[in-house]
Symmetry: C2
Subunit: 358 residues, 2 copies
Amino acid sequence: MSQYSIAVLAGDGIGPEVMQEANKVLDAVEQKFDVSFNRTAFPVGGYAIDTEGEALPSKTLLGCEQADAILFGSIGGPKWDTLPLEQRPERAALLTLRSHFDLFSNLRPARIYPGLESLSPLREDIAKSGVDVLVVRELTSGIYFGQPKGREGEGEEEFAFDTMRYSKREIRRIAVAAFEAARKRGGKVTSVDKANVLVTSRLWREVTEEVAKDYPDVTLDHIYIDNATMQIMKNPAQFDVMLCSNLFGDIVSDECAMMTGSMGLLPSASMNEDGFGLYEPAGGSAPDIAGMGIANPIAQILSAAMMLRFSMNLTDAADAIEKAVVSTLEAGVLTGELLPPEQRAEAASTSQVGDEIV
Amino acid sequence: MSQYSIAVLAGDGIGPEVMQEANKVLDAVEQKFDVSFNRTAFPVGGYAIDTEGEALPSKTLLGCEQADAILFGSIGGPKWDTLPLEQRPERAALLTLRSHFDLFSNLRPARIYPGLESLSPLREDIAKSGVDVLVVRELTSGIYFGQPKGREGEGEEEFAFDTMRYSKREIRRIAVAAFEAARKRGGKVTSVDKANVLVTSRLWREVTEEVAKDYPDVTLDHIYIDNATMQIMKNPAQFDVMLCSNLFGDIVSDECAMMTGSMGLLPSASMNEDGFGLYEPAGGSAPDIAGMGIANPIAQILSAAMMLRFSMNLTDAADAIEKAVVSTLEAGVLTGELLPPEQRAEAASTSQVGDEIV
Ligand SMILES: CC(C)[C@H](C(=O)O)[C@@H](O)C(=O)O
Ligand SMILES: CC(C)[C@H](C(=O)O)[C@@H](O)C(=O)O
């Protein structure tokens, strides 16, 4: 029997309650497949600030180092928003984990599920055109981490600066990730840049063109970020894999998530070159509905499925979970935010959705 | 009688034909109001490359220097897309004009006109919620112009870099522009940044907060760029004035333009501290329909109205043009792209729309 160890970082807001459902699903996988998951919970985010004094305690980091993967809930909330930026949950925990484990490859799928088109803020004909995009975002470089960054000067001439920076190596490895993903999907990569203005984007274009030569079965297009935000609205079905730098990927993936109208369904994976990864829902900690048992656990459960697929190579188990999610949606076992207002009284609870998937 | 001189840079694609209609409207203004416009045409863009060897010939630049304002058409097209980046129409002409005249204040209004909601790619209820946004974009600094920019290193470690940079002075003057505009509109500024990651954004936030103190009648909110692209889709009616840095404004203004579904209606103004400005349609040169007499001239005509308002203080004339545009839309004198496919046979031509506005 294969064994894997998972660091479970449930975090804040709805994190703990949706994590409970993901755990149920992992229990079911253990029963159905020849595998066991050794799970250890660690504090992170605002909860860790309150209990341990910092958003990413060293025992949590150590626990992650010893695991095969990190299953992450969500962090942050108004309670910790007044802390100095560097200590806030999002930065102190999330950005640190990304860079500590070199999680450069961030996959964020966004699709509009048949039957759920009316949730999309897009016009019906666009929402029904078959939208299924995978955003592949570089996550450990670019203007997020580029040096120098700082402030200089005095009075009105005081200025602040950030550095956007990419090496060929950094671009190549994320481009490879995008082409590999496209090969298993629609065979099309659209690389997002601002090559008419940024030197970084020109290098980005050069290297993606080079990588494309190794993938004759995949087509490569380039699109400017400003045009990308327009096309996502006008005709999202034209996209298969969107390859983005860190900042542009932040923007594009959120716009794609919103376009689906169902943030509670979207998982994400952040991986390094060794297949180690952090898996988390695309949505936030939703403190306003935390503890009410009404949050949608599907994004968390699909994040667990991505973990099985990418960090453990458990393709069958991952497929099984994803199929169970689709059946659950088709069966109409839905949390309130997926229903029209007048039907919300009959909404399924967080744990009912989890049970149905199990 | 007041006299103004205008440098008319029609450019490429549909530029010349829509400019002709704007000129008709300016003729009508001369007849109705006590004013005369001394107009001189200059080559720019691809047309100037073909006829003069460069996208912004020195006589064009000189002509602009001697004018009270620049009325700009649109530039670029596939013919010039293979030129080295620095020589291409968009960069060589547009970015040079912006920085030469210090046109730091870029105003891009985006509204969904009553009756034209079905053109929007957004869901009907969202498109009908009363969308009227003004994007105020900083246009001469930030990562577009920040130094250093370049490439260094060798092999796979070769890297490229760009610098995002803002001084307090640069932030303050564009923030003031946004607050002034908000005061005359809905009284609300939403400043777009990425203050959880960028040092530049933190200074941006500080300075906008300072400026806000001088405008107790205007409210100020901050939003992250990733969330902004989501909210524009989900609930654009929440926005009045969106204050953006150069890069974020490029993205936000294009997303807002697309959200209206009628790019051919959207003007823009790019101004400096002396009231000198460049006025141009938000859409591109549309080479595919150039010369066919079917392009919508309204964006160009509304750009002329903005010119009268901001560079010449001719408020009555500007109001008159804007009113005439609304009546023309209400009267259903519409170019094809504003009509459902089955009604396009009855579409008005470029010059019919111009005549109606006159
Ligand atoms: C919290 C923030 C720093 C983060 C980012 O910008 O990467 C978030 O928006 C995300 O996309 O995961
Ligand atoms: C052509 C390009 C350099 C330009 C920009 O990015 O500013 C354009 O997209 C715009 O918004 O006017």
